[in-house]
């Protein structure tokens, strides 16, 4: 039952990525070159809906949350490495799967490269773990948690701001 749910949700996610242009190399690169911000608008809308919805669900007591740990400077280095890969391939780990299914051979190779990258990390992890732990590890901190307020208090205005920003950003056709 859970497997079927996963498959259906994943399929919906993949279909939306495909239909909104998120799996397109050109759309991603045009966004990163700040030429056509369509994908930025998609992401900001998703985050806006997510912020308001997730914290709304949390208030209702039905949210299953999983906040990732903060460790510095590891998380910054990780983001920088990921960003380079994102611009070189034009895909992220999820959209590469969508693009591969659309017949894009460079996405297939991206996935293979990704499997090697993940593999390398897995075997370097015991060494990296001590490096990560020796610096600032802060655990799963959230913005509202550090202020000691209910999440919705921050998520609602921030979510509205994201949706407003998404609407205001220029889309395709403007350079």
């Amino acid at each position: 039952m859970n497997l079927l749910l996963g498959l259906l949700l994943g399929a919906a996610f993949g279909a939306i990525l495909q239909l909104s242009g998120a799996s397109s190399y050109t759309k991603i690169l045009e966004t990163l070159r700040l030429k056509d911000l369509t994908i930025m608008k998609v992401i900001m809308t998703a985050i806006g809906v997510g912020l308001i919805g997730v914290h709304g669900l949390d208030v209702l007591g039905v949210a299953h949350l999983k906040v990732k740990d903060l460790y510095l400077p590891g998380i910054v280095i990780a983001g920088l490495i990921f960003g380079m890969g994102f611009a070189l391939t034009g895909y992220c780990p999820g959209t590469a799967l969508a693009a591969a299914a659309e017949g894009k051979l460079d996405a297939w190779v991206t996935i293979v490269g990704g499997l090697f990258g993940a593999f390398t990390f897995a075997f370097l992890f015991p060494n990296l773990e001590s490096f990560l732990a020796s610096f600032g590890g802060f655990g799963p901190v959230t913005i509202h948690g550090s202020f000691g307020v209910n999440g919705l208090l921050i998520a609602l205005p921030l979510g509205v701001l994201c949706l407003w920003g998404a609407a205001k950003l220029p889309g395709s056709g403007t350079t």
């Binding site: 749910l5 669900l57 983001g79 380079m84 391939t89 999820g94 993940a118 990390f121 075997f123």
Partner: protein
């Protein structure tokens, strides 16, 4: 009458407007959060690595605490893995139904700048893919896990990861495609 577009040309035009795409991704996230857990993709690359390695050499796989932790029980029959398997299925169906399925090696934008040679594009795709998943595992998440799920939960690590990701990706994109110097 407009000339008939090829699948290649059609594929470049998104079917969904930005708001519908964003709303759709948001709704998938909310259903996932309400029923199971936030969405994530990159861990499943490790899981597949672990299960494959375990099939080839169980001892070697057991040696890695990281693989052992990620691929619990060395099985692919999990909600998380099936979610990731669903992505290409959904994308394929969407592309096929809207007649936008098209095969190619080199993206047109890349070809304009670096030429049609497939080897060069594929070599950089491999290197890029390697960095992508190395970075994602280092940071504990990717675009789905950190940017969509993490930022939505107001996780500090996800805001920092996303900011670093975009800064680096924008600089790298500029380096790949320098701006024309205006006379």
């Amino acid at each position: 009458m407009q000339p008939k577009m090829t699948n290649h040309e059609k594929a470049r035009v998104p079917i969904l407007p930005w708001w519908a795409g964003g709303l759709g991704i948001g709704i998938v996230l909310l259903i996932a959060v309400a029923l199971v857990q936030p969405i994530g993709v990159s861990t499943q690359y490790v899981v597949l690595d672990g299960v494959l390695l375990h099939a080839l050499s169980p001892d070697l796989a057991d040696d890695s605490p990281y693989l052992k932790e990620a691929s619990k029980g060395w099985t692919l029959a999990t909600y998380e893995f099936f979610f990731v398997v669903g992505i290409p299925i959904g994308a394929f169906l969407a592309a096929a139904i809207t007649k936008r399925f098209s095969t190619r090696v080199v993206p047109p934008l890349w070809a304009d700048r670096f030429g049609q040679a497939p080897g060069k594009r594929l070599a950089w795709s491999f290197i890029g893919g390697f960095l992508l998943l190395f970075g994602a595992r280092f940071g504990g998440g990717c675009t789905s896990g950190h940017m969509i799920s993490g930022v939505s939960q107001l996780a500090v690590s996800s805001f920092i990861f996303s900011a670093a990701l975009f800064a680096s990706a924008i600089v790298t994109a500029r380096w790949l495609y320098p701006e024309q110097v205006k006379q």
